[in-house]
């Protein structure tokens, strides 16, 4: 009983055959658990902003789950109130303005926030209530920034637009400032930038971090974010805001994603320090040399191995191109959620070495049927644990991935694969922490 992996594979396209996400088919039409939605992305970002209020506008289910996620545990909201305006049949038919007005009044009486994010959901976007106009009205009436995050799920296959739209909307909070020796970090979806190697080198050079978005921040920090000498974009979700801040406030930006290739990492460091008007620390050159040597050494052990991969905490296509180009380790199947133009160069590099199958991500129920057909050595990211064990496939565990940036990423990647390549590693095929985004 179950799906037929061979048939599934026959229907799948390869990376070379697809030009946009519409051409990338899911493994199956019945998905589980399915993709996260932009509401979650918005939630992950706003819940970290102190003195703000997140208002979910939608059916009780969306409100319930957002509250459920932020009430405790790893995703607990700290310093941000998560509330909702629950729509019923009457609101769907006649509009939600009246209910919104009353709710906003209550909200202002109880919380006195410095910023409010109104987050829409599928139903609101379908019925077409003008939440933007309402936000403008509340901003004027109550004298505070009220931003709208459009978070409908039917236009996307993942939660990242929710993060991106929240960041974009936050520019309304920002005000022109005098520039000083500090940076903003844009796009760190999970993890703590202050634990990274890049943070350590910045701190040693006397540069402070003014604001992190997403990340622990406050309405005040977002307001004064234009004081930064430059923005560091650590994930593409931060790019639109970086471009907008450059246009509006003249803040330059440096793209410094979680890259694996040491030479690319050095180039990022060089650009960053040059933008800050500082000398590149000499130690970084020797670190680059060491990681290149370690890469060559690892290749001797890993050459010829194969893997399948879900989304990772890394810059995905750069990572895959690094694995194929520098280590001769090739992907057989990639579960993807984007084919963005910015990463096209990495895909072209990868295609010089292999042409993996591609499918949409977040389909744990189905992926297990492909393991015996593809027979990879490794699995990266989320996987069907039972089936992985059964088929002797080792999970590559990239420990602490979300708290890394710089040469430590290369180190983590190499160590994870070398560890997985040990004979005993197959005994513990657990899911890589930081493997799912």
């Amino acid at each position: 009983m179950g799906l037929d992996g061979v048939t599934m594979l026959k229907k799948m396209k390869t990376l070379r055959q697809v030009g946009n996400m519409k051409q990338v088919k899911p493994l199956s039409y019945a998905l589980f658990p399915g993709y996260h939605c932009p509401l979650m992305g918005a939630m992950l970002t706003i819940k970290e902003i102190e003195n703000s209020v997140m208002v979910v506008i939608g059916p009780d289910e969306c409100a319930y789950y957002t509250k459920l996620a932020t009430s405790g545990g790893r995703m607990k909201a700290e310093g941000c109130e998560v509330v909702s305006v629950v729509l019923d049949q009457h609101d769907v038919t006649f509009g939600c303005q009246e209910k919104m007005d009353e709710a906003f009044r209550e909200l202002m009486e109880e919380y006195s926030p410095q910023a409010v994010y109104l987050v829409t959901t599928c139903v609101v976007e379908v019925i077409g209530d003008d939440i933007d106009a309402m936000a403008r009205g509340y901003a004027k009436e109550y004298g505070l920034p009220v931003m709208v995050v459009h978070a409908e799920n039917f236009k996307t296959d993942d939660h990242l637009p929710g993060i991106e739209h929240t960041m974009d909307a936050s520019i309304d909070l920002m005000e022109k400032q005098e520039v000083c020796d500090c940076v903003n970090v844009l796009g760190l979806r999970l993890g703590d930038f202050t634990k990274t190697e890049v943070y350590r080198y910045l701190a040693e050079s006397g540069t402070e971090v003014a604001m992190m978005l997403p990340g622990k921040s406050s309405a005040e920090q977002i307001k004064t974010a234009p004081k930064a000498k430059c923005n560091i974009v650590v994930h593409p979700v931060g790019l639109p805001l970086a471009k907008e801040m450059e246009k509006k406030f003249g803040t330059p930006y440096v793209v410094f994603e979680r890259y694996s290739d040491p030479n690319r990492i050095l180039a990022c460091y060089t650009e960053l320090f040059e933008t800050l008007g500082k000398v590149v620390p000499a130690e970084l050159y020797s670190l680059c040399k060491e990681r290149n040597e370690k890469t060559e050494s690892a290749k001797k052990q890993l050459s010829g191995k194969t893997y399948i991969s879900g989304n990772t905490a890394l810059c995905n296509y750069e990572f895959h191109s690094f694995m194929a180009d520098r280590l001769d380790v090739k992907p057989l199947l990639l579960q993807i959620s984007d084919l963005d133009a910015d990463s096209d160069a990495f895909r072209q590099t990868l295609l010089q070495y292999c042409d993996p199958y591609v499918t949409r991500s977040a389909n744990m129920a189905a992926i297990g049927y492909l393991y015996p057909v593809l027979k990879p050595d490794f699995n990266i990211g989320a996987g069907n644990r039972t089936e992985l064990t059964k088929h002797g496939i080792t999970s590559v565990q990239m420990m602490n991935a979300y708290n890394t940036l710089g040469f430590e990423v290369c180190d983590m990647v190499l160590s994870a694969f070398l560890r997985a390549n040990q004979p005993q590693a197959m005994q513990m095929p657990t899911m890589g922490k930081g493997g799912v985004r």
Partner: protein, 412 residues
């Protein structure tokens, strides 16, 4: 309701899903955005429901919303049928699908001839009411569509109204099963909406009696009485005296006496908690009146009120977690606060009471109260044991322990 600071009442749709997922050889297929399913998985898992091959989503795109394209749904139905061979596929509409009005029932009708599984649709989408509407909807549907008129199976009964959304429901079911076994030698055939497979549901019509533990299952019980001639009783065994009365009620329906050892044991425990001539005398001995505020489902409120009365604790407020519009002959003491603000104000105003309720109540009660979790949402609590009931003899033993702590805290 305008601003919702805490949890809204779960929707009809959520209850439909958590009541259908436990049916072991059936599958729930959500037609809607995948994000809802992914998010929902967290809730259903916390309710102790196995997610493995019990819940799927189609996800939807703008084409589905704007053009009414249902091909994803068609393909998903075909795929689940071929891959997992379920006996029933329950197709459940998401809120946005209900709003755009996709004819899911129509899709299921024309797809039925292409698959082996039965297709049953739910088009509520979360807009017909709160979770109690969803429970009613599922119970009615199961009796109408799945339960068959079968030969009577000796010494069996069904439990109707055990919802996964209720705190410690599996423990309560375990206690009911123990009581029925000890009292009459009867075994449980089917627990509607919480356990079992399609065959269990089909054969439920052969039971000697249905035990209806919440009012949402009353219509289903009536239907089974009419269709399959299964008698029922309505009520749940809370407190020692309440449990004894409940067993005697069952005895009168099935024509079998309650095991006398059990009767004697319950009577002895009733005697132990009612010294000095019973509650009136005990109340006189209290330094301050022992009061409680209870928050929960309608039947939970009535059950706890009765149990606490046996312990000489007066339930001052009965706060219902759901709308009481649809409840026939609703107890006048039970209140539903549609506005969350008013409910919170009540919780904040309570002092030196035994507060029995949800995470919400716990959050807003003060240190000046004694709190016990008994109802949803109970997100901060984990239910590991299935032998820790509130119902029955064992449930009352536990409530007696809690009552002692409550009395000690306030020197009552």
């Amino acid at each position: 309701m305008s601003l919702c600071r805490f949890y809204p009442s779960p929707s009809d749709r959520m209850a439909i899903i958590w009541s259908l997922m436990p049916i072991r050889d059936a599958v729930v297929l959500e037609y809607g955005p995948a994000g809802t399913t992914h998010f929902g998985g967290g809730l259903y898992s916390s309710l102790g429901i196995d997610l493995n091959k019990s819940l799927f989503t189609t996800h939807i795109s703008e084409d589905d919303v704007v053009m009414g394209d249902v091909s994803r749904l068609e393909q998903a139905i075909l795929e689940i049928d071929a891959a997992y061979h379920p006996k029933i596929i329950f197709v459940v509409a998401a809120a946005v699908i209900a709003v755009i009005g996709t004819d899911i029932e129509g899709v299921c009708q024309y797809m039925q001839e292409k698959v082996q599984a039965r297709l049953i649709s739910f088009e509520e989408g979360g807009f017909r009411g709160d979770y109690t509407y969803g429970l009613k909807s599922v119970y009615r549907m199961l009796v109408r569509e799945v339960v068959k008129k079968t030969d009577k199976k000796e010494k069996t009964y069904n439990i109707l109204g055990a919802s996964a959304g209720s705190f410690r429901v599996r423990s309560d079911v375990w206690e009911i099963q123990n009581l029925m076994r000890e009292a009459f030698g009867y075994e449980c055939g089917y627990v509607m909406g919480l356990e079992g497979n399609v065959e269990d549901i089909e054969s439920a019509g052969g039971a000697a009696i249905n035990l209806v533990i919440r009012n949402e299952a009353l219509e289903a019980a009536e239907q089974m009485k009419e269709n399959c001639d299964v008698d029922y009783i309505y009520g749940a065994p809370y407190g020692y005296a309440g449990t004894l009365q409940w067993l005697e009620q069952i005895a009168s329906v099935i024509g079998v006496s309650v095991n006398q050892e059990l009767v004697a044991r319950l009577k002895e425990k009733i005697r132990l908690i009612t010294p000095m001539g019973g509650p009136p005398m005990m109340a006189l001995m209290q330094r301050i009146p022992a009061k409680a505020t209870i928050q929960g489902d309608y039947d939970t409120l009535l059950g706890f009120r009765a149990a606490l009365a046996e312990l000489s604790v007066t339930a001052e407020n009965l706060v219902c977690s759901h709308s009481i519009k649809g409840i026939a002959n609703c107890d006048a003491a039970v209140k539903y606060y549609a506005k969350e603000k008013e409910r919170i104000a009540l919780f904040r105003s309570i002092e030196e009471q035994w507060c029995l309720g949800s995470d919400e109540m716990e959050r807003y009660c003060s240190e000046k109260d004694y709190f016990t979790t008994i109802s949803a949402p109970f997100i901060s609590k984990r239910q590991v044991g299935t032998h820790l009931p509130f119902m029955g003899e064992k449930g009352m033993d536990y409530l007696r322990e809690l009552k002692s702590e409550f009395f000690d805290k306030f020197d009552i």
